[in-house]
């Protein structure tokens, strides 16, 4: 399993559109990808669950990736967060 932490910089937090694009991105990989904040966890492929975390600007999330292509998937997720959130 691989993981990284990231502090959200987008002014409205993880809002609908990036969460949707994130879900699409996450579906490309076999690995299970989860996002957690404050003990709550959501699968990255599930848009509404991710939105349900209500991650605001300045809050830190932990992204965990585990599965056959975790190396690749984790790199892609990191890049996605840095570019979009």
């Amino acid at each position: 399993m691989k993981e990284f932490r990231y502090t959200i910089k987008d002014a409205v937090g993880i809002h609908a559109r990036p969460a949707g694009v994130l879900a699409k991105e996450a579906k490309k990989y076999e690995s299970k990808i989860t996002i957690s904040r404050d003990g709550k966890t959501a699968e990255a492929t599930k848009l509404m669950a991710v939105m349900g975390l209500a991650v605001k600007c300045g809050q830190e999330v932990c992204v965990q990736v585990s599965g056959a292509d975790e190396e690749q998937a984790c790199g892609a997720m990191k890049k996605f967060f840095e570019e979009n959130l």
Partner: protein, 547 residues
């Protein structure tokens, strides 16, 4: 034949078939089913169909309103792909053996409630999106999918109220008129009607269940009424009046590009009053010579924090550039206790018209004012901007403003930003300003007479109070004398003077305005050509002044 009265937000008359835009809540019945798999397939089919509809809406919105506003439909598509949401619907069908419509509606309610309960304004607002996609699914399932307005022939839109997302979806060429049960004069419906130049009535007490798509109706914005299923006589009468209106419009069209000049060669400028960047299209469409009053409040209203200097700068610059060298007079912030904005923390007042508003706020909370001035002066670099200050009553105020302007100028110089100190004028809208207009004229570049407030303050009549209608005379001698005094004092000091209140568009006074030497009239965009027509019919035979 049934008549209903409402409040006209845009005049005009139209006749045609009605399209009833129903509220998105439709009645769903719970039905027990036998074949869960078949029901799940129905859901899948409805989802695919919804995806196609949303793609079409997205493409249409990108073309008409741009990528940023279209993104909402993309988000809806993504929501419809959500595994938890779809699984919840499937699961409900399987375990409770209920129909697809019911499962979709209940699941939609559950998810939307989850968002509504979140402690985050942005997420709370997403509850409506989830309701929206669920309703779309339900409508596709019931075969009731034409809640979106799509029509081959132009129709009258009848609705409870219109939301921006609904209006975006409409083909503007296919709308004859708007009739809504709710909405205010500043609602989206009203703004759209003004822009599109079509009649609109709001506050019409209709029972939407009794009105059906395809019914015939006459919308008469002049009388403020809508007549459903009109009889032959009413139809014939409406037809004649519509033709007359179209003829008038055609004649006005011919005045585009012509000068505002009287038969004996006296000229006057005719500018337009607007309240948002998008109205500029309407100014150009009606061939106004410039913008005589650009209310800057739109930047401050409908939000929860002050607009930044950069935001304001971009908006002002955009308008200046769109007007391509024509004059754009921007009035600084005129917010007060009657136009409440939460983040200003103004508090309630017993007499808001005479309260803490406009320049009084700007001179007290100077940081708000400085930010606006910085943005205005920077934008002035890019076009023919002028700035005017509202609610002035004294020479001291004008001097205080001048001192702030000097400071802002020094700051901009120090920051090395491109800027220009534009022409600056004041609104003459208090009797005090009228009486000292000789002194004020020496301190400013121009005057703009705001007749609405000036009339209210001079006659001591609240125009919102219907009981006072009998006492109200917009042509009161006191008002006319004041206007004349201001014009004379401005001209003595070599300054120009305009009128930007409602009186500016009053064609009974157009000749008099030209005669006393008013330099500019600023009117609603839709009135520009009408006033031009009036000017072009004037012959000033004698020099005597009435009033």
């Amino acid at each position: 034949m049934k008549r209903y009265s409402g409040k006209t937000v845009y005049k005009g008359i139209q006749m045609g078939p009605v399209f009833v835009l129903k509220g998105k809540e439709s009645q769903v019945k719970r039905v027990r089913i036998e074949d869960a798999q078949a029901e799940i397939e129905r859901v899948e089919h409805a989802v695919r169909k919804a995806q196609e509809q949303l793609q079409r809406l997205y493409d249409k919105a990108v073309k008409e309103v741009g990528e940023a506003s279209a993104a909402i439909f993309e988000v809806h598509q993504m929501m419809l792909e959500d595994e938890d949401y779809l699984e919840a619907i499937h699961n409900m069908i399987r375990t409770e053996m209920v129909n697809a419509e019911y499962a979709a509606a209940v699941t939609g309610d559950n998810f939307s409630e989850m968002f509504a309960n979140m402690d985050d304004e942005y997420m709370k607002a997403r509850a409506a999106d989830i309701k929206d996609i669920s309703t779309r699914l339900v409508n596709n399932l019931t075969g009731n999918e034409d809640t979106d307005f799509e029509s081959k022939e132009p129709m009258i839109i009848v609705a409870d109220d219109l939301t921006p997302s609904e209006t975006v979806q409409m083909d503007k060429e296919k709308i004859l008129a708007f009739v809504t049960v709710h909405g205010s004069a500043n609602s989206h419906t009203a703004i759209l009607a003004r822009m599109m130049n079509i009649p609109a009535l709001i506050g019409v007490p209709l029972d939407l269940d009794a009105i059906h798509t395809g019914m015939y109706a006459v919308v008469d914005g002049f009388q403020g009424e809508v007549i459903f299923e009109p009889d032959e006589e009413t139809r014939a009468d409406a037809k004649e009046r519509i033709e007359q209106e179209q003829e008038k419009l055609r004649l006005l069209e011919e005045l585009k590009g012509k000068e505002n000049v009287t038969l004996d060669g006296r000229k006057i400028q005719i500018y337009a009053n607007i309240g948002s960047v998008s109205d500029v299209a309407y100014v150009l469409e009606n061939d106004a010579g410039g913008i005589g009053l650009f209310r800057s409040e739109f930047l401050y209203l409908g939000r929860d924090q002050f607009p930044t200097e950069e935001e304001q700068f971009q908006a002002y610059k955009q308008v200046a550039q769109m007007m391509a060298g024509k004059k754009v007079i921007i009035r600084t912030l005129d917010i007060g206790a009657d136009k409440q904005v939460d983040y200003f923390n103004l508090g309630r007042e017993d007499n808001p018209a005479m309260g803490y508003r406009a320049i009084r706020i700007c001179l007290t909370q100077q940081d708000i004012f400085r930010t606006q001035l910085r943005a205005l002066f920077r934008a002035a670099f890019y076009g023919n901007l002028s700035v005017m200050y509202p609610m002035i009553i004294s020479v001291e105020e004008v001097k205080a403003i001048a001192a702030i302007v000097e400071q802002v100028k020094a700051e901009l110089e120090q920051d090395g930003l491109p800027y220009r100190i534009p022409e600056q004028g004041i609104m003459i809208e208090t009797p005090a300003a009228v009486l000292i207009s000789d002194e004020l004229a020496k301190l400013v570049d121009f005057f703009s007479i705001g007749t609405n407030d000036l009339t209210q303050y001079t006659l001591a009549i609240d125009r919102q109070n219907e009981k006072l209608d009998a006492f109200y005379n917009p042509h009161h001698k006191a008002i006319l004398r004041m206007i004349q005094m201001v014009v004379e004092n401005a001209h003595k000091a070599g300054k120009w003077v305009g009128i930007c209140g409602e009186l500016g568009a009053d064609r009974e006074l157009t000749e008099w305005f030209v005669r006393i030497g008013v330099d500019e009239l600023s009117v609603a965009p839709s009135m520009v050509l009408k006033v031009r027509k009036a000017v072009r019919e004037i012959r000033i035979s004698d020099g005597s002044i009435s009033g």
